[in-house]
């Protein structure tokens, strides 16, 4: 499968983030499932930090229109009750407004903004 010349679990065949010169990370936040009670809030709080607004002011659009955070939570962190320990590793990335958001199975939620305007 001649897909990419890079290797590793987060290897270079990811079209969104590989152009790393175009994105600058502005916020990172550690999500702890037992403490934070839901990945949705952790992601929105991180975006709020990036925008410099209160979390309740992040509202255009609902995150649900960009991604189903509940399913990401289930895939990366198992059930919300924490009764099961799963060993999934990986990272999910998606665009929200002007940002690139990355959620890793290590719990790090990272928000990046473009370093230059996108091509028209």
């Amino acid at each position: 499968m001649p897909k990419s010349d890079k290797t590793g679990p987060n290897g270079g065949d990811d079209p969104t983030v590989d152009r790393d010169s175009q994105w600058r990370q502005v916020v990172q936040r550690l999500y702890e499932p037992d403490r934070d009670g839901g990945l949705t809030a952790a992601i929105v709080f991180a975006i709020a930090d990036a925008e410099g607004v209160a979390p309740t002011e992040v509202n255009s659009p609902p995150l649900y229109e960009a991604v189903d955070a509940e399913r990401i939570e289930q895939a990366l962190f198992g059930s919300e009750t924490g009764e099961t320990v799963r060993e999934a590793t990986g990272r999910v990335e998606f665009r929200y407004a002007d940002y690139l958001v990355s959620v890793g199975s290590d719990g790090w939620v990272r928000v990046s903004e473009p370093t230059r305007p996108e091509r028209p």
Binding site: G37, F45, P55, P62, D68
Partner: protein, 170 residues
């Protein structure tokens, strides 16, 4: 009579689930994904229950109630940060999920939810689940008192108050 027919339905279902014979599965109950999607998270079940109330609380008020309920604390003790976390989860995930499932409509201006076309079906399922859990509890409670048959007899006597004498001291 009604007991008998329920029994037959259950037997029919058991037969169809075993695949004996040529019976078809009850399509209507297999095709209501939105019911299960709507009820798959405790916070969404809470939102669905709230549709039964006469008042239309805002998402912020609902978030306060949910924190109090989840953490078993009085509503006055709910911190803003905690309330914001839940409020954000409602706005960004749970309410849109319910809107997608056709269970609620969200009023952006007032920040309130109202029932939509599938609300009745989902509430019926929710209440049905509650009912079946209760009857399981009853059955379990009945089982526990089995060894003391006298007690269950006495209870039976109480329900038909007039004819209760026949049960007494036997």
């Amino acid at each position: 009579m009604s007991d008998e027919s329920t029994g037959e339905d259950a037997a029919d279902l058991a037969v169809s689930l075993r695949g004996d014979g040529d019976r078809s599965l009850p399509q209507e109950t297999l095709e209501v994904d939105y019911v299960y999607e709507a009820l798959a998270h405790a916070r969404r079940r809470y939102l669905c229950y709230s549709l039964l109330e006469d008042t239309r609380p805002s998402l912020t008020e609902l978030a306060t109630e949910i924190v109090a309920w989840e953490d078993d604390v009085p509503e006055e003790a709910v911190t803003q940060r905690h309330r914001d976390r839940v409020s954000v989860s409602l706005y960004h995930t749970h309410v849109p999920t319910l809107v997608d499932a056709g269970v609620v409509a969200f009023d952006e201006v007032n920040g309130t939810i109202t029932a939509a076309e599938n609300a009745d079906e989902v509430l019926a399922a929710l209440i049905g689940i509650g009912g079946s859990l209760e009857s399981q509890d009853d059955a379990r409670a009945g089982g526990e008192t089995d060894t003391e048959g006298g007690e269950t007899d006495a209870e039976g006597g109480e329900t038909d108050a007039e004819g209760g004498e026949t049960d007494a001291e036997e």
